[in-house]
Symmetry: C2
Subunit: 276 residues, 2 copies
């Protein structure tokens, strides 16, 4: 298969590396509207060649879209003339708005996916070999994709070592809001709070593993996350409301010195142990 | 030197291991009111022997207190009859209430410290060899300790590989509230929110590195953290108020679709990159 990757950042670049050792991938072509990214991707050997236009990418058997969610929606409008057997797989972090925006005439060509992996780094230099290995990819509304496309996407994701999970787009977006998008909002807020109140010297001196872990994803790409917050606005706000209720409970227990209740609340949180 | 360690959990146990390879430590004795912990500590060779009473520990040249903050305050009341050259070093996560509670007659024997390290695990089985290596220890109000005690504490902490930072207890507690205690409250609240709203299967399937990192410290000991929240109540509540303001800004920007401002806010958070 000739595979095209649109977007050569952390996700697309790491995908290029992962696909290299797959039996199904005969040729890997990249495309990115950032010329600097294209040069870096070639230098780092993330892809074998760079397409000069979107039309060139359309000749691929499979096209991965590893660009921000808004870009996925936009680029799909220009894909109406792809060949019938072409498979387009998006890797966006929200799914409902994307799925509902796909032009009807190429809906069967499209597979909605969300690989649940990443790091806080971005751009082609952030690409790493094992980003996808042994991680989960969620495939959404798969019954709306053609059977050839279903098979192609499943095969490729399995070949790069991913575990497949199937879910409706609506359900995915609610889960993702709680388990991924809200934690990003908290991390950004934590980083800004601490930088506003603390001098850099104290932060460096005193930051233990807890703060480092909690603030790591505050280094994530604003370009990407602005877009995710926009696409999943309602679910994100709902998740944050639930979080606020929970944090307010904590503040009230501390304020009113309800230490036994606070201890129990912490014990409840400890139960995450049994899950993760 | 004969060294006593009161409290044989993660911190005390790891200290026992670290001290083993120090030139200054001739003998390492442990003490813990939990008999099971004593047995485990011996089996795991965290300490060489177990003291049968607090009085036995008092014959040590140096005594580390690696117990919850409330316990430190309580046990110091029973230490008034230690020999003049004895050094007692506490490792509690808050400092102001501890320092102000030390009996005046043994104030010079006491060194207030806070090693800025740890993991979410607890108990003797959580003890690890390199917990202290290359981490920061904050020494508070050191001028109130005797010169012999200042030197002893500094030497031992340097020998186990720690970097010394000096600070007033009041200042320490405010910094710690922002950089350590507030993040713990957020992590507990995040874990409880997600477990309340999501089923365990979805959490396991969808949790990426971000959620795993942000919820890790929600597995920390309620016994220890209830105590820290109690001792540092005012600073913690102040830090949480600042966090709430910041998170509310985020929610309002999302609600009112102020995407440029949101992007800028995320870029501000990204600046943590330059610090950590």
């Amino acid at each position: 298969m000739k595979i095209g990757i649109i977007g050569l950042g952390l996700m697309g670049g790491s995908l290029g590396i992962a696909l290299k050792s797959c039996d199904s991938a005969r040729q890997i072509i990249g495309f990115d509207h950032n010329a600097g990214h294209c040069t870096q991707a070639l230098e780092l050997e993330l892809v074998e060649q760079i397409a000069q236009s979107l039309d060139e990418i359309k000749s691929c058997d499979v096209i991965f879209l590893s660009i921000p969610v808004g870009g996925i929606i936009a680029v799909m409008q220009d894909m109406k003339d792809i060949p019938p057997n072409c498979t387009i797989i998006d890797m966006g972090s929200t799914k409902e708005k994307i799925v509902s925006s796909i032009p009807q005439e190429i809906r069967k060509n499209f597979v909605a996916s969300h690989p649940m992996t990443g790091t806080e780094k971005f751009g082609p230099t952030a690409a790493i070999k094992d980003l996808y290995e042994d991680q989960v990819v969620v495939l959404c509304n798969l019954e709306e994709s053609g059977s050839h496309q279903q098979k192609t996407a499943s095969t490729l994701y399995r070949e790069i070592g991913m575990n497949l999970v199937f879910m409706g787009a609506k359900e995915h977006d609610r889960h993702a809001a709680f388990i991924s998008h809200m934690p990003h909002a908290l991390s950004y807020a934590l980083a800004n709070t601490v930088m506003m109140q603390e001098d850099p010297k104290s932060i460096t001196a005193l930051a233990g593993g807890g703060f480092r872990d909690m603030s790591r994803i505050a280094k994530s790409s604003p370009h990407m996350w602005e877009d995710i917050f926009r696409q999943n606005k309602r679910n994100l706000l709902e998740a944050l409301n639930h979080f606020n209720t929970e944090l307010k409970r904590c503040q009230e227990m501390v304020e009113h010195e309800e230490w036994d209740e606070l201890n129990q609340w912490m014990q409840d949180a400890n139960k995450l142990h049994d899950i993760l």
